[in-house]
Amino acid sequence: MAESTAWTMTLLASAQGGAGMAESLCFWVLAIGALAGAVGVVISKEIIRTAMCLLATLVAMAGLYFLLGGYFLGAVQLIVYAGGTLVLIVFGVMLTARSPQVSFEPRWFEMAAGAVICAVLLATLLHVVLRTTWPGEAGDVPDATVAAIGQQFLGDYLVPFEAASILLLVVMIGAAFLARPIRRDRRRSRRNV
């Protein structure tokens, strides 16, 4: 038993060099993947390719969360954005597109408006990033976060949580209302009566 504990300790100690390099390698791969995906979203003209580039960005972001130890955030990112929203986008495109290859051809004022918005956003973000004093060292990340998050949701942040759930309920009812079957025969008969 003592031997195995000592072995574990040395294992942990050996994690510094190689694991650190592997970690930075992972970071660079994921960061470049996220940026390349984001550029691809803007550049590509076919809507499905845009969606795939978005997938690359979302998955790489989830990978970055995992790398940072934010497992819950990473998993939720995968479920909600990659597995839910993106699938809905792709699915919607399939249902609504008339030709198999839909392509974007933006007009000049659309491009100009987009460029202005992006420039303002970039300036704001750069301003914030450069002005903030970042903490020098990262703190320890707790391993077990799910229970804590759940207790926060149903404890200190109960009202925002319930408000969000009511919002989602409204959205669901709206969707069901829009998608309801229209029974024309009954309406006509009512009118006739």
């Binding site: 694991a19 995968l78 990659a82 699938v87 699915f91 077990a144």
Partner: protein, 470 residues
């Protein structure tokens, strides 16, 4: 002249120079080595196993300290495990495909693959794999080439990544996460993107229809599946898969499926949902052969086509693993694990405990049992229509899971020491549920055994005489 058919044997390409020498060398090696390999196959097999074990031992004693000094131990370990998982998934999928063909054959009064490799065609999948690799890799002209090539990997990678957090035993897990179950669900939810993209990028009506059906089906069944999983999770109080598994170490009656009536029903709801999410019959609409040619993979050939099936079988194993861990006692046998303490100490007692009471073997048995059930259902039930599939999900399973969730909440609220009368009642009901489960399992075994013992009658006398091993 060119219109005259030339036999394939005469069309063989003639190589010259260095290439010719390489080809003749390879042919000579095959001529000499092939029969030798065939003659000494058991020696080669066991020799390979012994060499592999020796190589692992040498690696552990010689290379690992060096790596440890250089600080690369964890990285190398992770790479090795990733490759091992990939190998496990591939071999698993290969043998599941072979097994599925055998089961299908038996159910349809055939023998299934019998020739390749000798004993019951055991290497049929291997031969099929080689065939798939050597086949022409076709891409339709109108297809979106990049996405067409990408799609199989999008469908294959998420289920393989899921093995990273899937525990085979309480310490047999690569990464034991606090949110293991959520992580697995998030990866299984990504698999569908590959199929949607495959259907879209092929630029064919059949593939698109298959992909749309898959999208409808998987998105709708994710909701009852997730909510059915919440029911036992509410009893367990954690998402950590190893913790959920070790809660159920007390034998058959402590398994979460038999905790109360709601978890018992949730097991079946989740099982139906998992059939739908793995696009297994009766929910195999995305690849309905008789309607859509091949569904979403109509345009695929060769290895890309095979990759879809690797992904499907990997997902089947992961889903069966989740069912096993969350509902059916994970890696514990029906006997209480405490009884294993009577075996004493020593490696022999440990091994016996691993085989009899709890260990990865039991997890593997249960998963393969679920996969067998998937196969049995696939070759027995007819395919549903898409409106029936969605009706079953939205109007039957979804309200049912809501009832289960609410009922389980109330049950667990009162199932506490503060309410001794209800807690006692709950215990009795739990044992009753366990008995019902045992009866169901017994019925399953009786029916399966009936089919097995009467298999010769099914196969027919002539076949049995021609193939005595059948």
């Amino acid at each position: 002249m060119s219109s005259i058919w030339v036999p394939w044997s005469d069309r063989r390409k003639q190589y010259t120079g260095l290439r010719g020498r390489i080809v003749s060398c390879a042919a000579a090696v095959y001529r000499i080595g092939g029969p030798l390999l065939k003659r000494f196959a058991p020696v080669v097999f066991f020799g390979t196993v012994i060499v592999a074990i020796a190589a692992i031992w040498l690696f552990a004693t010689l290379v690992m300290p060096l790596l440890h000094k250089a600080g690369w131990l964890f990285v190398v370990r992770d790479v090795i495990i990733a490759v091992a998982v990939l190998g496990l998934v591939t071999v698993l999928a290969m043998y599941c495909i072979w097994w599925e063909r055998k089961v299908a054959g038996r159910i349809q009064s055939r023998l299934g693959p019998m020739r390749t490799g000798g004993w019951h065609g055991w290497s049929q999948s291997l031969a099929d794999g080689i065939k798939c690799i050597t086949k022409e890799d076709t891409v339709p002209d109108d297809a979106d080439h990049l996405l067409f090539r990408l799609a199989p990997y999008l469908a294959f990678v998420p289920p393989v990544c899921a093995f990273m957090a899937l525990p085979f035993g309480s310490s047999w897990v690569f990464r034991d996460m606090d949110l293991g179950l959520l992580f697995l669900l998030s990866l299984l939810g990504l698999e569908i993107i590959g199929i949607l993209v495959a259907g879209w990028a092929s630029a064919s009506k059949w593939t698109l229809l298959g992909a749309m059906r898959q999208g409808c089906q998987v998105i709708s069944y994710e909701i009852p599946m997730g909510m059915a999983l919440l029911v036992p999770i509410m009893c367990a109080g954690t998402l950590r898969l190893t913790a959920i598994g070790d809660m159920q170490s007390g034998g058959w009656f402590t398994w979460l499926a038999f905790r109360n009536p709601f978890t018992f029903v949730a097991l079946f709801v989740y099982f139906i949902g998992s059939l739908a999410s793995c696009k297994r019959a009766p929910f195999d609409l995305p690849e309905a052969e008789s309607e859509l040619v091949g569904g979403f993979h109509t345009e695929y050939s060769g290895f890309r086509w095979a990759v879809f099936f690797f992904g499907e079988y990997a997902a089947m194993f992961v889903v069966s693993g989740i069912t096993t861990i969350v509902f059916l006692g994970a890696w514990h046998s029906p006997l209480p694990a405490e009884w294993g303490m009577a075996l004493g100490k020593g490696w022999l007692a440990d091994a016996a405990r691993g085989v009899i009471f709890s260990g990865p073997l039991w997890f593997f048995y249960k998963c393969t049992w679920f996969i067998f059930t998937h196969m049995w259902l696939r070759w027995t039930l007819p395919r549903l229509r898409i409106d029936q599939v969605l009706y079953a999900c939205v109007q039957v399973l979804l309200p049912l899971t809501m009832v289960l969730l609410l009922g389980n909440t109330v049950w667990e609220l009162f199932n506490s020491p503060a309410h001794p009368a209800f807690a006692g009642f709950s215990t009795v009901v739990g044992y009753l549920m366990g008995l019902v489960g045992a009866v169901l399992l017994g019925g399953f075994l009786v029916i399966a055994g009936h089919g097995w013992w009467n298999r010769r009658r099914l196969v027919g006398r002539m076949t049995v005489q021609a193939l005595p091993g059948a």
